[in-house]
């Protein structure tokens, strides 16, 4: 079969039967799935916080309300990556700005995919911030007196841990809304 004798040209030619819009729509479906993978992070991290929280309330029942509060506060911060992923997925599905843009289909489609890959970075902050939430809850259970100091340090560290997730979000938004590769 001659047409497959060059696999790359075969693939590119095959893709060329589709309109630019179709290619972007297909890439959007893939990217919506890719961005959700970022959600692995909060799941691990918040589960860690849940375990440490359960342990801490068992060790110090009188202080269970404060422990739970710190656990939930830290876990809320750890949800950020998951929310970013969900928001980008919803933008992709319902308002992908690259759909309908004039341009080369493969560049538009690849930009959508690239945005999907970038959001996977959210795994990191989700895990890390959840770990901080768990350690914060644990320590507040043992030393309730220093709750504000512990929480401040936890939040400061969580903020530092968020940055690479923000970088990824920015790159994804650039690819979608201000793409310099679109001639």
């Amino acid at each position: 079969m001659e047409e497959i004798s060059n696999l790359v040209l075969f693939l590119l030619n095959w893709l060329q039967q589709f309109s630019a819009k179709t290619l972007v729509l297909a890439a959007t479906a893939l990217a919506a799935g890719l961005v959700m993978i970022g959600g692995i992070g909060p799941g691990i991290g918040q589960g860690f916080a849940a375990g440490k929280g359960a342990e801490a309330v068992g060790d110090n029942e009188d202080n269970s309300n404060n422990v739970t509060l710190v656990m939930l506060l830290g876990a809320a911060v750890a949800e950020t990556s998951g929310i970013f992923s969900l928001v980008v997925a919803l933008i992709l599905l319902y308002a992908n700005p690259l759909i309908g843009v004039q341009g080369v289909g493969i560049v538009l489609a690849a930009s959508t995919l690239g945005a999907g890959f970038a959001m996977i970075a959210g795994i990191g902050p989700g895990i890390g911030q959840g770990y901080a939430a768990g350690k914060g809850a644990e320590r507040v259970g043992r030393r309730p007196k220093y709750q504000s100091l512990i929480v401040r340090t936890m939040l400061l560290g969580q903020a530092v841990g968020q940055t690479t997730g923000i970088y990824a979000l920015v790159v994804a938004l650039i690819l979608l809304f201000a793409n310099p590769l679109l001639g």
């Binding site: 179709t22 692995i40 909060p42 849940a50 359960a54 068992g58 269970s64």
Partner: protein, 83 residues
């Protein structure tokens, strides 16, 4: 072959990818289960508050798995990309 088929095919793969998010909740909630079991062994009298805290934290950890499921269901059953 029409464009709608390509979009539908990509949606099937995208739905599968979205489910991978569930790895996180599985690990995290299992960790919580282990720490909960350890804690009730140490303080059986605190079983109520330990279990409640474990389940509350696990509910929080479930959300991104649910987000992935919702996106997959949208891709399969209410796909806005298919004209």
């Amino acid at each position: 072959m029409d464009g709608q088929s390509l979009i539908a095919a990509a949606s099937a793969v995208g739905a599968g990818l979205a489910m991978i998010a569930g790895i996180g909740a599985g690990i995290g909630q299992g960790y919580a289960a282990g720490k909960g079991a350890e804690a009730v062994g140490k303080q059986p009298e605190a079983q109520g508050v330990i279990t409640r805290t474990m389940l509350l934290g696990a509910a929080v950890a479930e959300t991104t798995g649910i987000y992935g499921l919702v996106i997959a269901l949208i891709l399969l059953f209410a796909n806005p990309l298919l004209g």
